[in-house]
């Protein structure tokens, strides 16, 4: 398989050749116009592909954002004689702002709720276009847009063709550069597991806003280009139906694929032209097509083809996991920052959380010393996981506070804590299942990148340097946990035990000062648990403080320096392993009374009697 970079260059080259040949063949004005329109729609589809395919946000109002760009450009050009470049810039800016505003609700709602917001937005926009006569020209629209003029060159259709093509190439490269960068990875991460993304320091709201702004800016650019191509704009091009067709383009082509939006947009535009002959039945045929695509190719053309390709070419190679931890790989020592010099890595003061009437964590005081392994144990439902969620910012405390290396962090969001060096794993492993094993670890480095969005989009030297360095380090971390052989596999295909290892490698990518492990031994074999014990000790030796929530008593006793025992949300015992081990309160809470006042059922069974018995 070619590297993605080579693929990109090949696609760009093929595209350029196609356009040159197309022009040399001397197309009719109609053909030229149709191709230009298709290219513009491709730009919208690319933007939507970033929004849905990367960030997992479904917009049913994209036509309105596209329309906003078109109307802003048209209005400036017609009413204020603004020339081409500033009008396009204003179109992009207006749409991007609108995208940022629309992104706001995604902080709180997703799925059907979000779909309704985007639908409503689209309908409001359409109505404003029709009703606000003085600005939008009402149902007639804005007519008489002058041809664009750049530095004295009039953008006649043959010249404009290349302007549109250049914009499409730009959009395509933006798409590629986003997908293959920390931003794309972070967007995919937020779509696949919000919890894990937050725990790795990703600001969900920020990432979703970014996806929305990029997608809206591209729609705005396309809208502006459309206005100067068509020379009039009218509300009919920006209706709910068009939002649906944009969605269809992206789904038909293949969500999240590089080429999908191009393919989807061209197929739909040309099919729509062909269906013109059907007249009244055009919409019917269109919707039959939509349903058929969903049935036959739910992953779209490119997605389904690449599935097929992988299916037929990749011989099922057995992957071998290496023993772990691999001691040849160094763990970066967690060094204490000077200004927070303290030997208490984490202190909780009277930490309490209530859910409804239930007090899950009740006035818990905990002191965890730097560089130690501190276990939290207790029976099911004792509040261990709730405490862990409070410490890592997933729950907000009802009262009490948390000190992290001396800093008061009670009530802070989980991504803020992650940025301060607190990493965690999850009881039911929260991997980014559809991302590769290597990408999972790379998401862990998200907060350590210094290169900005601009540097990333332009692939400037610092971006390349960082990307290279973090890839190296990610490979090393995979080596540490013995998963190098799996680097390019999707994480969801890993066996359960390996998923746990990957989750730990990903948490280590954050370079944590404090690592919270939530039942890391659950589901592991005895052998794997031995490895895990070694890894935990290795981390502690490198000054990484570890908090361990675990059921596996033997392991807890073996690796911990201190143990806190919880029951009914309260600390019932705390101290060293020896202190806790023989505490009778602990024995009763944790192991049950172990002495039932009842007898084993009689070995000889009586005849079945009524209740629940034989039918």
């Amino acid at each position: 398989m070619m590297s993605p970079r080579v693929q990109l260059l090949l696609i760009l080259a093929a595209g350029a050749i196609f356009l040159v040949v197309f022009r040399e063949l001397g197309p009719s004005g109609y053909q030229l116009g149709l191709l230009m329109r298709t290219m513009i729609l491709m730009i919208v589809a690319i933007g939507l592909n970033i929004l849905i395919g990367q960030a997992g946000l479904v917009s049913l109002g994209q036509a309105a954002i596209y329309g906003l760009g078109a109307y802003v450009a048209a209005w400036l050009a017609v009413r204020h004689n603004v020339s081409f470049l500033p009008a396009i810039a204003a179109a992009i800016l207006a749409s991007a702002c609108c995208g940022a505003i629309l992104a706001y609700p995604t902080v709180r709602v997703r799925g059907a709720y979000f779909a309704v917001i985007t639908i409503a937005f689209g309908l409001v926009f359409e109505n404003i276009l029709i009703e606000w006569l003085s600005v939008t020209g009402g149902s007639q629209g804005l007519i008489g847009i002058p041809r664009g003029n750049v530095f004295g060159v009039v953008l006649t259709r043959p010249i404009y063709f290349w302007v549109v093509a250049a914009c499409l190439f730009f959009a395509f490269v933006v798409q590629y550069n986003i997908m293959h960068s920390r931003y794309g990875r972070a967007m995919r991460a937020t779509a696949q597991s919000e919890s894990a993304a937050r725990a790795l320091g990703i600001n969900l709201a920020g990432m979703r806003t970014l996806a929305f702004v990029i997608s809206a800016a591209l729609a705005g650019l396309a809208g502006g280009l459309y206005a100067f191509l068509n020379l009039y704009v009218n509300y009919e091009t920006f209706s709910f139906f068009h939002s649906v067709s944009f969605l269809l383009m992206v789904v038909l082509g293949g969500l999240g694929t590089l080429l999908g939006p191009l393919l989807g947009a061209s197929i739909l535009t040309y099919i729509a032209e062909a269906l013109q002959n059907l007249r009244e039945w055009q919409i019917f045929a269109f919707s039959v097509l939509l349903a058929a695509v969903m049935f036959v190719m739910p992953r779209g053309i490119v997605g389904s083809l690449s599935d097929l390709y992988h299916h037929t070419t990749s011989r099922a190679r057995r992957r071998e996991a290496e023993p772990w931890p691999n001691h040849q790989i160094s763990v970066e020592p967690a060094t204490l920052m000077a200004e927070h010099e303290t030997d208490a890595a984490l202190v909780t003061e009277g930490l309490t959380v209530r859910f409804g009437g239930l007090t899950a964590v009740d006035n818990v005081r905990l002191s965890v010393y730097a560089g130690t392994v501190h276990a939290l144990i207790g029976p099911n439902g004792a509040g261990k996981s709730s405490l862990l969620n409070l410490i890592s910012g997933f729950y907000q405390p009802t009262s009490g506070d948390v000190l992290f290396f001396g800093e008061r962090v009670g009530g802070r969001q989980s991504h803020e804590l992650a940025r301060r060096g607190m990493a965690r794993t999850f009881q039911n492993t929260e991997l980014f299942g559809q991302m590769t094993v290597l990408d999972n670890v790379l998401v862990g480095f998200h907060t350590h990148y210094a290169s900005t969005l601009t540097e990333t989009l332009l692939r400037l030297p610092r971006f390349r340097r960082e990307e290279f360095a973090f890839r190296e380090r990610a490979q090393q971390l995979l080596c540490l946990v013995g998963l190098s052989d799996y680097a390019d596999d999707e994480a969801r295909h890993l066996p359960f035990g390996h998923q746990r290892r990957l989750e730990i490698a990903r948490a280590l990518a954050l370079r944590p000062r404090l690592l919270l492990l939530d039942e890391p031994a659950a589901g592991l074999t005895h052998g794997e648990i031995e490895d895990l014990k070694r890894l935990i000790r290795l981390l502690a030796d490198n000054e990484v403080t570890v908090i361990l929530v675990e059921h596996h008593v033997e392991m807890v006793m073996a690796v911990s320096d201190h143990i806190t025992v919880l029951d009914y949300g309260k600390v019932i015992a705390a101290g060293t392993v020896a202190d806790v081990r023989d505490n009778p309160k602990v024995i009763e809470a944790y192991f049950g009374r172990g002495n039932l006042s009842l007898k084993r059922p009689d070995r000889l069974l009586p005849e079945p009697v009524e209740i629940g018995g034989a039918k």
Partner: protein, 291 residues
């Protein structure tokens, strides 16, 4: 004064439509955690099938029954073939696309066969307007809000007192546990979609004597009902009826005191604002996700 009463009554009629359709969406959502973008078109289908059958000379009662039955079958088919296969994961969006597609198919097929001319259903309740507080209104129009409230109470009894209703609530609350009780949740979802479609068709039939039945009457109304259901917090029957009626009344007042043009722009803006203020809907229950 007469003006206000007039807007209020007309608004309640319109709101009754939204409330009834939103109740259908609520029924479907409870059973399958998916909604149905064809619902507006089912409402339209109910009206035009009844009109066509009556025009063919069938007695009103027969054409109404047939229309509701046809809609119920269509609803069941939609669940089986366009929702169930595309609603396999919690965040699936496939069903949105497929039901939008089916909705467009129904609408364009109806336009081709029925034509774009609106026709009314005969009704003795829509012959003479009643005078009420200086306003005029057909008895037929008053049927809609009454039907919405009655359906809400009927559903309440159905959900609490009948075996099937209890099964539906069980499926809504916990599919797995429902299965362990011996409840076939796929069948329950199918029945829920049929029931919702039946109510949707009946709504179309109730309004058809006043509002001419048209192939385009469904799409926008369906979207508004969807917005109403979501704003209400789709898991509350009482909520969707209250918000539905309120939305209808609000639309009529906007039409009356501002303009018809401002109606949808303002209405949908309010939908967005309401969702920003109440992300789980006004009457919705928050779903707490455990980490």
């Amino acid at each position: 004064m007469g003006e206000i009463v007039q807007y209020l009554l007309n608004g309640l009629t319109l709101g009754g439509i939204y409330a009834l359709l939103a109740l259908g969406l609520y029924i479907m959502w409870e059973a399958s955690k998916a909604a149905n973008f064809t619902h507006g078109d089912i409402y339209m289908l109910g009206a035009i099938v009844a009109v066509v059958l009556t025009e063919r000379g069938l007695p009103l009662f027969v054409s109404v029954t047939a229309s509701v039955a046809i809609a119920a079958v269509v609803g069941a088919l939609i669940e089986r073939f366009f929702v169930r296969p595309f609603n396999t994961e919690p965040h699936s969006i496939g069903w949105m696309l497929t039901t939008i597609a089916v909705g467009m198919m129904i609408e364009s097929a109806a336009t081709q066969t029925y034509g774009s001319l609106g026709r009314q259903l005969p009704s003795i309740l829509a012959e003479k307007p009643i005078r009420l507080g200086g306003a005029g209104v057909y008895a037929q129009e008053l049927l809609l809000p009454i039907a919405a409230v009655a359906t809400m109470f009927g559903l309440q009894v159905f959900y609490r007192r009948t075996r099937l209703g209890r099964a539906m609530r069980a499926v809504a609350a916990d599919r797995m546990a429902a299965g362990l009780m011996g409840i076939d949740s796929n069948l329950v979802a199918l029945i829920a979609f049929a029931l919702a479609a039946g109510i949707g068709a009946l709504t179309g039939i109730l309004i058809a004597p006043v509002l001419p039945a048209l192939p385009t009457m469904g799409a926008l109304t369906g979207l508004k009902a969807f917005g109403v259901a979501i704003v209400a917090g789709i898991s509350s029957a009482r909520g969707v009826v209250i918000v539905g009626l309120a939305y209808g009344v609000m639309e009529k007042f906007i039409e009356g005191y501002l303009s018809t043009g401002a109606r949808d722009a303002l209405g949908f803006s309010l939908v967005i604002l309401a969702l920003l203020a109440f992300p789980q809907g006004i009457f919705g229950r928050g779903e707490v996700k455990k980490v």
